[in-house]
Symmetry: none
Subunit: 245 residues, 2 copies
């Protein structure tokens, strides 16, 4: 299994991007993506704090939106320190690492900006909430520390899986298709919205954002594969038609 | 079990002492000991980087030698990035944490100075070598990162042991609702069929059974709960309406 993609959403200090790169490479992760880094990219402050993890910085890719950054990923995790009022499965770093080593497809972990964390819209993109169980009276985890704990667990759990490789037989799992990439899921959600909007589903306007997020969560949960998404697109095209009788 | 004592041997920068204190408190560790801190103690640089973990710094004790610092401890671990040519058991952070939660007596973890790590005499004091399994081609772990990984494992393994550690637990299932009963799922499938049938979705007739089965399996897979099914029923009712524009 390739390691997860680490996505830093609107990071502020280049120094923290460098520290995150160092934490990643310590445990063998190399794919870094940046969504709208505040000070642009490349950032000269990143290199020194990466302490030699230049390969990670050199290969980092920049995106305009979080959705673009995870468009090719099947499994998206939103890292938050505290639980939010969202109905998504909440996993700890070790549980997330087990998913990453057992579910096919690309995995991406979103980390929010230093002070404020991920925004609601970024969290809405994710299938899982990744929360580090932390001292409730002192939950001050910085960006690089959050990255190193998830990278460490990915590496540690990977050894558990490798240790078992000789014992575990290939199963029926490889016959099922992997989940569709995020871009296909976005296409499905957009299709729903295009049909629902002119029919007044997102009214009143004041509730519109909540309604859109609910729609997104309901459609994100199933983990549909490419064929299933295609079936649903066909259903929506049919529903957009007039009745024949 | 009380948490392990964290012993920083000859630390150089006050800033790193502060970061180590912060990492400790994040996972509920509070007992910090310093052996010959280079710039004396208290150190005004430590406070700001502790980011609020003042209780750890305020209670920190200073010792002249490593032997003094661990004199009251039964189990001493020497943290090293690389294994040394010493004949002691080498444990990873999770294995060390298991020992800490299962062996009675006080446990102490030694961390060396930033650049050079622990000296041979310090390692000689320890019963175990604690080594973080790290990328062999990039093993650059700083002091606070080494501390946070061991503190994290102490906390994580503690939950396995059902120790009374008051941390926020990630809850995967108990907060999310159970899947909706089959009757609700049938209601949803019927609703889809009622909308799709008059629009010709199940034609040609010869393929109708297969198409219905595909629809059913796509809608069965998600395991939607009662609220999610209700949301989807609302969506279908809306889609059955005419456009407003």
């Amino acid at each position: 299994m390739p390691g997860p993609v680490i996505v830093l959403v609107r990071p502020q200090l280049g120094e923290n991007i460098g520290k995150a790169a160092r934490a990643m490479l310590n445990f063998g992760l190399t794919e870094l993506r940046l969504v709208k880094p505040r000070d642009g990219w490349p950032n000269p402050s990143a290199g020194p704090s990466a302490a030699g993890a230049d390969i990670v910085l050199d290969q980092a890719k920049v995106f305009e939106t979080t959705a673009d950054a995870v468009a090719d990923c099947q499994h998206v995790y939103a890292t938050t320190v505290r639980k939010r009022g969202v109905t998504k499965p909440v996993v700890a770093p070790d549980e997330a690492a087990r998913l990453m080593h057992s579910e096919t497809g690309r995995h991406a972990i979103l980390f929010g900006r230093e002070a404020s964390g991920l925004g609601t819209d970024d969290v809405a993109l994710a299938r899982y909430i990744l929360t580090v169980p932390i001292n409730p009276e002192f939950g001050s985890l910085n960006l690089a520390q959050a990255v190193i704990l998830t990278a460490y667990e990915w590496s540690r759990i990977g050894r558990e899986f490798n240790a078992d490789i000789d014992l575990v037989q290939p199963t029926a799992e490889d016959e099922t298709l992997p989940p569709a990439p995020q871009s296909e899921l976005e296409g499905l959600i957009n299709h729903f919205e295009q049909l629902l909007d002119p029919r007044g589903y997102f009214l009143p306007e004041a509730r519109s954002d909540v309604t859109r997020r609910t729609l997104r969560s309901v459609l994100t949960k199933p983990n549909w594969n490419h064929l299933e998404v295609r079936t649903l697109r066909g259903i929506l095209t049919t529903l957009g038609r007039d009745r024949r009788d």
